[in-house]
């Protein structure tokens, strides 16, 4: 069958080779953009590539990356989670309240140790995540609306906890036995900041789940065709619930990290973080329609956003221009995504024909 094109012209071979290259470049575009930015900034600002600065940079990136990794699963199912920023803010406030105000039973105020504070904070955030999941998976509310609602609910709750005030001095006091909280965001392990380790660990887990486990397959399947997934016997509601809860877990970590880094909890923390997270996911090539994308892409996307933000600050670009540039980068990235899809449709058949021919010979 493969003998039917005896005179495959030379130009065609060349075309195939260049098509392959273009496709490869497009697929690796997120990482290319990242490299390009790194080269650009280190050329323009010599202090950019210093160990100290990179340490600060990765700390910034970790915040976006944690949220983006959680968001990836939600988006892969075809949903969206707008509430992560608010959940992070709420998490910080819960931790702040527990550390500075304590819990009172029968008129006696108890100050729980830091480990318990962290656990309780995470539980509080998971509840919001579970609410998201319940609204979307069981009550059938559109994810955009459901999480928009919880965005306001969580933010309002954060404000209510302190009446809009900041909880300062989260360092704790030795007499109350609750010191050590700032270490959550400020400590180092092997010269690497703890939040960065958290990012790495969470990413590793998320990557394994997404690519190696049935749960990951189910997430992709639901995003591809929810009805088909249900008919294939996949527990659609449970899987969706799990994605929202996981996203809230990531947001809780972010809230704790920020509170620990500042040693203070402010109710407005995390405003518009969700947009950064979504941008990172989209930059990483995950489709907002669901079913396509990867956790690795989101991590790279988070790095692009972080590097861009820090680099522009270093170059002294005005804050307003920074916002514009970030927007342009997102729009271009999504444009490239479309281009890739279109090119793949055109090029892939071409490549497959060649591949099968090679297979024969």
């Amino acid at each position: 069958m493969s003998t039917e094109t005896p005179s495959q012209p030379r130009a065609n071979r060349f075309g195939v080779a260049s098509a392959r290259l273009i496709l490869l470049l497009l697929r690796a575009r997120a990482i290319l953009v990242l490299l390009l930015l790194l080269i650009l900034f280190s050329a323009l600002a010599p202090e950019f590539l210093t160990a100290n600065n990179l340490s600060i940079l990765t700390k910034h990136v970790a915040i976006t990356a944690l949220l983006a990794v959680g968001m990836t699963f939600v988006i892969l199912t075809g949903g969206i989670d707008l509430s992560v920023g608010s959940i992070a803010g709420l998490g910080g406030m819960v931790a702040g309240y527990l550390l500075t105000q304590g819990l009172s039973f029968d008129g006696v105020t108890h100050f729980p140790p830091v480990a318990i504070v962290i656990l309780l904070t995470i539980c509080a955030c998971l509840l919001v995540g579970a609410l998201n999941g319940w609204l979307v998976a069981k009550a059938g509310v559109a994810p955009f609306i459901a999480t928009l609602g919880t965005l306001y609910i969580a933010r309002g709750a954060a404000l209510l906890i302190s009446n809009g005030k900041t909880f300062p001095n989260l360092g704790g006091t030795a007499s109350r036995g609750n010191t050590g909280f700032p270490a959550f965001g400020q400590s180092f392990l092997l010269h690497v900041p703890t939040p960065v380790w958290m990012m790495v660990a969470l990413f590793a887990v998320a990557w394994v789940v997404a690519t190696k486990t049935p749960l990951g397959r189910h997430v992709y399947a639901i995003g591809g065709n929810e009805r088909a997934a249900r008919l294939a016997g996949i527990r659609v509601a449970q899987v969706k619930l799990a994605t929202y809860v996981f996203s809230a877990f990531c947001a809780a970590l972010v809230g704790l990290i920020i509170a620990a880094q500042l040693e203070a909890a402010h109710p407005a923390t995390g405003e518009s973080f969700e947009l950064n997270a979504i941008a990172a996911v989209v930059l990483g090539g995950t489709s907002l329609m669901g079913g396509r994308g990867s956790v690795t892409g989101s991590l790279i996307g988070a790095f692009v956003i972080g590097v861009l933000a820090d680099g522009l600050v270093m170059l002294g670009v005005s804050e307003f221009w920074q916002v514009v540039i970030k927007g342009v980068v997102i729009v271009v990235a999504v444009g490239l995504d479309q281009l890739q899809t279109r090119l793949e449709v055109r090029i892939l058949p071409y490549l497959t024909t060649v591949r099968t021919k090679e297979g024969h010979s």
Binding site: K212, T213, G216, R217, I234, E358, G359
Partner: protein, 525 residues
């Protein structure tokens, strides 16, 4: 065969007094359906009779309002598809539900992934078993290809492979051959025979009567949600089936009234070659140097096996696919290739093969779906449009309680008719139809043929593909046979024969079989 020796075949599954109501519509009205162990249980009925609804209930995808299911005499409750899978019922749905973003092997194991260490997906074993299941169906594919890139027929094979691999006791096939051509269907029948020998119970639904008569052991006929007839193989005849289904005797087929086309050539295609497509052996055989012309009022059939390039050819004519080389002209005017609007402007309309993916707007109503194509017209007012749409709905016997209901509430065959109605709404001069009667029942088919012949007599040129030889013979003035992307034969109406078509469509047996086997499943070497 052994029918006589088994007087009391055992009932394995019984649906008792099942009633299912939809808003404003009773789909099943106290239906009792018995499924006999180790036999092919055939369910027949017109479009909208309630066959698929009953199957969805048996597969746990839908719950009956009333009635019980008895498995080997014990009542079972099915709340979800996985419950049915757990008791050994697997199904191939009529509306194919592939996860288009996943690989073939991931599709075959979706929702029941094989695990290593109870945690990680065992991709290798999944790939192996998928490959084996597809080979069993004699349709080897590269299982790491994304399912969305497969043709409809290949997706159907994938779904059948999925159901087969589950190794269930009861296998439900709801129109499994509607997108398959004769040779693929033949492979499926062999598999069914094997399964039967292994004691698997099969429930089979199809509108192709010859298949039913060939396969079936038990026949149950549904009409408007009621059982109106049951028979064993010995008593079932074509006439009985048709009479039971529609409640009237089968009318004589009117094939004589075909007008002959005029001399004027409307569509000319010369040297059409497409860049390769993926998914099956078609990867090596896109459309190659195809030339033909169609005259005014002519009905041209394009016959070929799955992957012969039929769909690709029609899609290219309609401007949906880029063309590598060649010229398409309508009434002497060259069409800009790969441009849908230009094809439409020239009056060329495509009725796509996959109504779910390419055809219908599932959220919109039946009327809106029909009217959609005519929206841009200058001359029709809305009322007129609606009136014409309703006329078409009546003419095509679309069994709709209300044309304002979403189109997805219709049965599969009726959705197909909606698609046809839409294509007729825009008054094309060349109608390209890909499997025009997929899933349409026998009497409605005859009706549709009549309408198409009438339109042809008025000057409409039609190019259609069909995987059914009977349909090709009934409708076409002239038949082109495609084989691996090339025209391998041309028959005038009076030269048509089953054997001739079949021989021309099959690639020379040795070459094909050899190449198919030689090709490693992985594709790359």
């Amino acid at each position: 065969m052994s029918q006589v020796n088994q007087p009391a075949a055992e009932v394995i599954l019984e649906a008792c007094n099942i009633t299912k109501r939809y808003p404003g519509n009773v789909a099943l009205d106290c239906v009792t359906f018995r499924v006999y162990r180790g036999q092919v249980n055939v369910l027949i009925g017109e479009n909208g009779a309630g066959k698929s609804t009953l199957m969805r209930i048996l597969a746990g995808a839908e719950k009956a309002d009333e009635g019980t299911l008895l498995l080997e005499g014990r009542p079972v409750a099915l709340h979800a598809p996985r419950d049915a899978a757990a008791i050994g019922i697997s199904i191939v749905y009529q509306e194919l539900l592939a996860l288009t973003n996943l690989k073939i092997s991931e599709n075959i194991f979706a929702g029941r992934e094989l695990c290593r260490a109870a945690l990680f997906v065992d991709q290798e074993t999944q790939d192996q078993r998928s490959t084996a299941a597809l080979n069993h169906l004699r349709k080897p594919m590269d299982v790491s290809i994304e399912t969305g890139r497969l043709s409809l027929g290949c997706r159907q094979v994938v779904e059948i492979a999925r159901a087969l691999d589950q190794g269930s006791r009861i296998l439900i096939l709801d129109e499994p051959t509607s997108a398959l051509s004769a040779s693929e269907a033949e492979s499926l029948f062999e598999v069914i025979a094997d399964l039967k020998r292994a004691g698997v119970t099969i429930i089979y639904i199809s509108h192709r009567l010859h298949e039913l008569l060939h396969l079936g052991d038990r026949f149950t006929v549904l009409r408007s949600g009621r059982v109106v007839g049951e028979a064993i193989r010995a008593d079932a005849t074509r006439a009985w089936i048709v009479e039971r289904m529609s409640g009237r005797k089968e009318g004589a087929h009117d094939t004589s009234s075909t007008s002959s086309p005029t001399r004027t050539v409307v569509l000319t295609v010369s040297g059409l070659t497409l860049p390769g497509s993926v998914g099956d052996e078609a990867a090596q055989a896109p459309v190659h140097d195809v030339s033909f012309s169609v005259r005014e009022g002519e009905i041209l059939g394009v016959y070929g096996l799955l992957g012969a390039g039929r769909t690709e050819l029609l899609e290219a004519l309609a401007g949906l696919r880029p063309i590598a080389s060649g010229v398409v002209a309508v009434r002497g005017r060259k069409i800009r290739t790969g441009n849908v609007r230009d094809a439409l402007r020239a009056g060329m309309v495509l009725m796509p093969e996959d109504r779910q993916r390419d055809g219908l707007f599932p959220e919109l109503s039946i009327r809106e779906n029909v009217v959609m194509a005519a929206k841009t017209g200058l001359f029709l007012s809305r009322d007129e449009e609606t009136e014409r749409a309703c006329k078409l709905v009546a003419q095509l016997h679309i069994a709709a309680k209300d044309v304002e209901l979403p189109v997805t509430t219709l049965s599969g065959g009726n959705q197909q008719k909606v698609l046809l109605a839409r294509c007729l709404m825009c008054s094309p001069s060349v109608l390209l139809m890909d499997e025009p009667t997929r899933g349409v029942d026998v009497s409605a088919k005859a009706e549709i043929y009549g309408i198409l012949r009438e339109l042809a007599a008025k000057g409409l040129s039609i190019v259609f593909t069909s995987s059914e030889i009977e349909e090709t013979q009934a409708l076409a003035h002239r038949v082109l046979v495609l084989c691996q992307g090339r025209i391998s034969a041309e028959f005038a109406r009076d030269q048509l024969s089953d054997d001739g078509l079949f021989a021309a469509a099959s690639p020379s047996v040795a070459a094909a079989a050899g190449a198919a086997l030689a090709r490693p499943p992985g594709g790359t070497a």
